[in-house]
């Protein structure tokens, strides 16, 4: 399941981010939340955007959807090519016809992204009314069908209920129903299970994987949970301080992480069963704290926390280089 290797950057990816920069202009200064980010997503592929708070993974997603709040945010430069069309160049009207229909997004907290004063069925029907010009009755029927598809019991009854009447897991299912209503080509899922209990999380991930098979949707999964990433995605993009620091097929990145940050991230989590087998080993710490975007260190932004840092790391920022084994890494010390 999931981990078949696809060749990244095939000739015409479904989505290609080219040197995207999204900055926030505030009284405290300019925060370069997304700073020169490039990656692509192929048709039907699932990739994972990994990183800690403030690394820019959510702002990257919002940039793709063109939902960055302006002001204070602004997509400063770069291109986001969707089937060859630059989403940053088209009119907001045209973007509206893509957003939700061809590129859909689900969020961490389903309660705040559902409208509390409309029934769940109404909100899903609206997708069909808006994007497919269907009549009210047909839209409603299709909405109930979607609710059934996301395995909510008693779909007819649930469609007539309001978001607060549903449990957290069911609300996230309703969000998925809405997102997939128009069979989008891309689904962006921003920490879709972080607010859920672990047994509910397992069900939601399972549902997303089933629907991926059925609809052939490409998925960008944003998560800080390396377990979920390992279980679901084919390729990983690791972000740190607004930049992509490593990218590669899931297996390769887990087997041989190349960036010191990725290495540290993998080793800082305990592994179940290891303690019973070998006794408790001290966890590897990444020193210091996640940097403040307003006061980024010069050179490589990771250098103050990096165990391998040398002189050049303090002086100049490394470029993202491709390695011989199909990975990409942004580190002065990495071998091509």
């Amino acid at each position: 399941m999931g981990n078949t290797l696809t060749i990244p950057d095939s000739p015409s990816p479904l989505l290609h981010l080219n040197r995207v920069k999204t900055y926030f202009y505030t009284v405290e200064g300019t925060a370069k939340a997304v700073d020169d980010v490039s990656f692509s997503l192929n048709k039907g592929e699932t990739i994972g955007l990994v990183g800690e708070s403030g690394c820019g993974k959510s702002v990257t997603a919002l940039s793709i959807m063109r939902l960055v709040k302006d002001p204070p945010g602004k997509i400063v430069s770069g291109a986001i090519l969707f089937n060859g069309t630059d989403l940053l160049q088209i009119s907001s009207g045209r973007m509206k016809s893509i957003r939700g229909k061809r590129i859909a997004m689900i969020f961490q907290e389903p309660m705040t992204s559902l409208n509390p004063v409309y029934t769940v069925g109404d909100q899903i029907s609206e997708m069909f009314v808006t994007h497919e010009n269907l009549g009210k009755k047909e839209s409603w029927e299709r909405a109930v069908g979607m609710i059934e598809k996301v395995q909510i019991p008693a779909p007819e009854k649930r469609a007539r209920e309001y978001p607060h009447q549903l449990s957290g897991g069911m609300r996230q299912r309703a969000m998925i129903a809405m997102a997939l209503a128009c069979k989008p080509e891309i689904l962006i899922a921003d920490e879709p299970t972080t607010a859920l209990d672990v047994t509910v999380q397992a069900q939601i991930i399972e549902l997303m994987l089933q629907l991926r098979e059925e609809f052939g949707t490409a998925i960008i999964l944003i998560s800080h949970d390396l377990g979920i990433i390992a279980e679901t995605v084919e390729r990983i993009v690791v972000m740190y301080a607004g930049k992509v620091v490593e990218e590669g097929p899931t297996l390769s990145v887990f087997d041989a992480p190349k960036h010191p940050y990725t290495k540290g991230l993998f080793k800082s989590r305990p592994k179940i069963g290891e303690r019973s087998e070998y006794g408790r080993r001290r966890l590897l710490e990444i020193q210091g704290a996640v940097p403040n975007l307003f006061q980024l260190p010069g050179g490589c932004p990771f250098h103050p926390r990096c165990v391998a840092a040398v002189e050049i790391c303090r002086g100049s920022a490394p470029e993202l280089i491709s390695t011989h084994d199909n990975q990409k890494v942004r580190c002065h010390l990495a071998n091509p």
């Binding site: 399941m1 999931g2 981990n3 800690e52 708070s53 019991p153 449990s167 957290g168 897991g169 069911m170 209990d197 672990v198 047994t199 509910v200 999380q201 397992a202 069900q203 991930i205 399972e206 994987l209 800080h224 949970d225 390396l226 377990g227 979920i228 990433i229 390992a230 279980e231 679901t232 899931t250 297996l251 887990f254 540290g264 991230l265 993998f266 800082s268 989590r269 305990p270 592994k271 179940i272 069963g273 303690r275 019973s276 006794g279 408790r280 001290r282 966890l283 590897l284 710490e285 990444i286 020193q287 704290a289 996640v290 926390r305």
Partner: protein, 330 residues
């Protein structure tokens, strides 16, 4: 392995909880008519030994936090008893309880909302000593500097305010504050859940070092089963107000006996892409503790239920090796 054996030989109970029940009435309308009860904790018993770490895990609404608050006497139990060093907390006078509070301290999930934003770190760490009138006034500054260093901060940082610190540093302050009165027991309610992965390791390592140095007992409340396995000696699994299983950490993960523990453990995503994803064992959400199902609370979701599970509540049984299970099938 050896130190664990020694530990078990020196077992000295610090906290003993017997058949603890905490029920909250639901009030409806202006006349406060009772609209039923929330059975937050419904008959929980356990012992925490000196120097030991006990973890309580479970999903939202299982009663793990309420159990911890009852141990701290921050919530009065509806029924049942809590003993601290063999004295019944319900029979203590207010002044005895006040003294006892020095011995038990709490670390919160969100280090930001649990630190007073208008106080410097020095003031925050001075508060517990001032309130409990311990350590002479002229020694307190020295003790604050010592505490800051113990948690990996510098005495110079004592003049800072919480907003000037990172999340991990704030959690260090929360830990220093918990240590200020030299307690025997520290209760951590999701102590690392709000932190970034790279910071979690720092705090987990710190908690383990401090435990060894000060011979602390920990009660760790968490939904993160991976972290709990690493920190805790024994782990209790709760479901809808009841304890369904309690076992040494290794046994619980290797050989969970209760179907709920089994489902919970199999649902943990494993950071190894070579392992095949497991099909979820449970369907549906955790039911509400307002009207918990009859019999075994878990029976409506249990893949292994038999007739009778919906009528009789299973008792927690000792199956040997410190492993306790509440299931009719065991």
């Amino acid at each position: 392995m050896k130190d664990e054996k020694e530990k078990s030989l020196l077992k000295q109970p610090l906290v003993e909880v017997q058949d603890l029940k905490v029920h909250f009435p639901i009030r409806k309308g202006i006349l406060s008519r009772s609209g039923g009860m929330v059975f937050a904790v419904d008959g929980v018993s356990f012992t925490l030994n000196e120097g030991e770490t006990l973890g309580i895990v479970g999903e939202s609404g299982c009663g793990k936090t309420t159990t911890a608050l009852a141990v701290l006497d921050l919530i009065r139990p509806t029924a049942g008893k809590v003993f601290f060093e063999e004295s019944d907390m319900a029979r203590m006078s207010p002044s005895e309880l006040r003294k006892l509070r020095r011995e038990m301290q709490l670390i919160f999930q969100d280090p930001y909302s649990s630190l007073n934003p208008t106080m410097t770190l020095n003031q925050i760490l001075n508060e517990p000593m001032r309130i409990h009138r311990v350590y002479p006034r002229n020694e307190r500054a020295g003790r604050i500097a010592y505490l800051l260093e113990k948690v990996g901060l510098t005495p110079e940082q004592g003049r800072r305010f919480p907003h000037e610190l990172s999340g991990g540093q704030r959690q260090r302050v929360g830990i220093a504050r918990a240590l200020a009165l030299n307690p025997k027991l520290i209760i951590g309610d999701e102590p690392v859940s709000a932190l970034d992965v790279s910071i979690q390791a720092q705090i987990i390592n710190l908690l383990i070092e401090l435990q060894q140095e000060f011979r602390l007992s920990y009660l760790i409340i968490s939904h993160d089963l991976t972290v709990v396995e690493y920190i805790c000696d024994r782990i209790a699994v709760m479901y809808l107000g009841r304890m369904v299983e309690m076992a040494p950490y290794g046994d619980l993960y290797r050989d969970p006996k209760h179907p709920y523990s089994e489902a919970l453990i199999s649902a943990i995503p494993v950071a190894d892409p070579r392992l095949k994803r497991k099909t979820p064992m449970l369907r549906g959400d955790v039911p509400s503790p307002i009207r918990p199902p009859a019999g075994c609370h878990f029976h409506p979701r249990c893949p292994k239920r038999i007739s009778g599970c919906d009528v009789h509540s299973p008792q927690l049984k000792d199956i040997g090796g410190g492993h306790w299970v509440a299931c009719h099938l065991v």
